[in-house]
């Protein structure tokens, strides 16, 4: 028998971070065990409804109301549908707590690949500004690293996964190593030209997206076919997912063992050596608990789940985690604030329409408070994601005239939504509810996280500025909306085990390595000391590859 039970490293989680950890560590020669609590989904064959029209999907691909309320009452705030049901967590089976008055939407995946199968794929580098902001603003949580530490790893990741986008040379939003951008449509170009003319310094640019515009034959991946099937799993491998990109690479080394349905509950620890000595998990199929060992552990279970595992790693009878000598574990939880939308009609250009169903759209990068506070009443800023399109006409009435009326398209419409940066607050925290165990015997998570004055003021500004920009650009019937801002809703939850130079104020050091355990790295969203306003996954991948490089060099030193 091959020594399949002997591993050099254990990777917990298989999303954007875990998948990259497995790829990097196996390619560096380590025998890796990757554990994921979700069900197995193989690339292509596991995408049950990829390419299927609605009439070949259960319930015409509309989630039944009763099922939504019984099992997907949190997932419904994401994008769960019958065609991707198995990619999402069953909220009934896996409960968590919050006070009635201050909800947190913990939108979780349910399959191997984690959120890499359900993500929006908008991919941005952080700016130097983002790493410096806490220090500049005098906010607790100074980053121990800067843009220059991460830049080469951004480049490494981008070249491998394929990020499409346009080079802009903007001071705030650094360019990636791009594949060609997905084009703007004629109406978006019209908005861009007029918005940028009216508002010097503000930009409307192509999406930056982990959907490819060029093939990667060496990875058996084909560029985007503009089908609008991303959320069902893409059999072309056109967008970055663990299944399409990092899992095949890790498997190709022959050094990866992947166990699905493996629910990690806690880490075992040797206080004298300050090392993690074991990873305990429960097989969700059999109920068997097991402890596995390795020299190195990468915890990549997602920001909140990694924090939960760290909090649940404690001596018998103690409620204090082995990894919380700083007292900051579970604190400084953040999400992007959103649910502000602006929209309007674009006059003219009715001789043109889109062909193909493009993922993504256009982006308005942050323009507030760059380089310092501008006296706008809040710190930091926001960006907008949007697109222009024409939809089939919606005539009233019934009968042949209605049917005929639906055979043409309406005019161009544009809309965009803001994503704003949330500040880190010590009392935005998660904890374990010791009195309520889940089906694996693990205390459930309790969320005490709210948006504060700075975030709400920022959204008010985003709404006003968005309306003004669209009006001044010449759009008609401009309107805006704002709905309840619930943390977690943006599915960009971060923090809980932040990075910092000072072990008294942070859980991890600048290499994503636990201050209290030299062989433990936490490389998902848990490590973030602030959240920028741009989508975070690209940064998680870059920090993961950087940490893997550091860990293996340290092992071999």
């Amino acid at each position: 028998m091959a020594s399949t039970n002997r591993f050099d490293a254990i990777v917990i989680g298989s999303g954007v971070s875990g998948g990259f950890a497995a790829k990097e560590l196996t390619e560096k020669g380590l025998r890796v065990l990757m554990l994921d609590r979700g069900v197995m989904v193989e690339h292509q064959e596991g995408y049950t409804y990829d390419g299927k029209p609605a009439y070949e999907v259960p319930a015409r691909n509309m989630m039944p109301q009763s099922l939504m309320q019984s099992n997907y009452f949190i997932a419904k705030h994401g994008y769960v549908a019958p065609s991707n049901q198995k990619f999402y967590n069953d909220d009934k089976a896996n409960p968590y707590d919050y006070d009635e008055g201050s909800p947190f939407y913990w939108i979780r995946p349910g399959a191997v690949g984690g959120k890499s199968l359900i993500w929006g794929r908008w991919s941005f580098r952080w700016a130097p500004e983002d790493f410096e902001a806490n220090k500049r603003d005098g906010i607790d949580g100074v980053w121990p690293i800067g843009y220059d530490d991460v830049a080469p790893w951004y480049s490494y990741i981008e070249k491998y996964i394929g990020v499409s986008g346009s080079r802009e040379n903007l001071p705030y939003l650094p360019d990636s190593d791009f594949q060609p951008p997905m084009p703007m449509n004629i109406a978006e170009k019209w908005v861009k030209q007029r918005l940028e003319a009216k508002f010097p310094g503000r930009k409307l640019i192509n999406t930056r997206l982990s959907n490819m515009t060029q093939d990667k034959p060496d990875q058996n991946r084909t560029k985007c076919q503009f089908r609008n099937q991303c959320s069902n799993g893409c059999s072309f491998g056109a967008y970055f997912s663990t299944q399409a990109v990092t899992l095949p690479a890790a498997r190709a080394t022959g050094k990866l063992t992947l166990r699905s349905d493996a629910v990690v509950t806690n880490l075992e620890y040797d206080a004298a050596r300050k090392k993690v000595t074991g990873v305990r998990y429960v097989d969700a199929k059999t109920g068997q608990a097991q402890v596995v060992n390795a020299d190195l552990v990468f915890l990549c279970a997602s920001a909140m789940a990694s924090t939960q595992i760290l909090m649940n790693s404690r001596a018998p009878g103690s409620d204090k985690s082995y990894f919380d000598n700083s007292g900051t574990l579970g604190r400084y939880v953040m999400d992007h604030i959103f649910r502000v939308g602006v929209r309007g009609d674009i006059p003219g250009m009715e001789d043109y329409i889109e062909y193909g169903r493009r993922p993504g759209g256009v982006y308005v990068p942050r323009f507030r408070n760059i380089g310092g506070e501008e006296g706008v009443g809040f710190k930091r800023g926001y960006g907008y994601q949007g697109s222009a399109r024409r939809e089939p006409a919606k005539p009233v009435g019934f009968g042949a005239s209605m049917k005929e009326g639906m055979r043409k398209y309406g005019g161009w419409k544009f809309d965009m939504g803001a994503f704003g940066e949330c500040l880190p607050y010590a009392d935005n925290r998660v904890s374990l509810n010791a009195s309520k165990l889940d089906r694996f015997g693990m205390p459930v998570m309790r969320f005490d996280v709210t948006f504060r004055d700075n975030e709400l003021k920022m959204m008010k500004d985003a709404r006003q500025q968005g309306e003004m920009m669209l009006r001044e650009a010449g759009l008609l019937n401009v309107s805006s909306s704002e709905s309840e801002h619930v943390p977690g809703d943006a599915i960009h939850e971060m923090g809980g085990a932040r990075m910092g130079a000072d072990p008294r104020k942070s859980v991890l050091n600048g290499w994503s390595q636990a201050h209290d355990a030299s062989n433990l790295y936490v490389t998902d969203g848990a490590q973030m000391a602030s959240v920028s306003c741009v989508n975070p996954s690209l940064t998680f991948m870059a920090l993961t590859a950087r940490a893997a490089d550091h860990a293996v060099k340290a092992m071999r030193a």
Partner: protein, 176 residues
Amino acid sequence: MFGSALFAPIARAAGASLVAKMPVINDGPPTTAIFTAPQRALMTALSERVMPTTDTPGAITAGVPAFIEKLLADWASPNDKVPIVAGLDAIEARSMKDYKVSGSKATPAQQDALLTLAMNDQIPGGANFFEPFRQLVIVGYFTSEVGITQEREYLPVPGEYNGEFLYSKVNKVYSS
């Protein structure tokens, strides 16, 4: 250092199963009958009046009536059927009063007149019936094979994106 240790199965919470099977969506025949036979006949006839057969098939060929009953039985909120059933009964009563025949046996012109009364809220529960029913028909039709592949143009793999495509080259509205 290497190796793994097996532990006894962990204690289970009383009554709770460790294994959580993914809930299966009921895609078979309706688990309950939403309509009486006369209601079903009227609903079927009216669905065709909302989305009639023209140069492409209408609601009946597209299977919309069966979709509506299945949706109301198993997929929608339990309350969603109430205004639909009540509206059908009100339309039936009005048909008997105005035309002395059951609504399903009325002529297409008479059925259109009845639907118009409902649309304009000129029969009890008319408006509460009309728009939800119209939406059921539209959704059922445009998620059917007929709606997706015949009334509209189905492009499963466009292969490219053109943001300045000439509208004059569009034959039919594209299925999304």
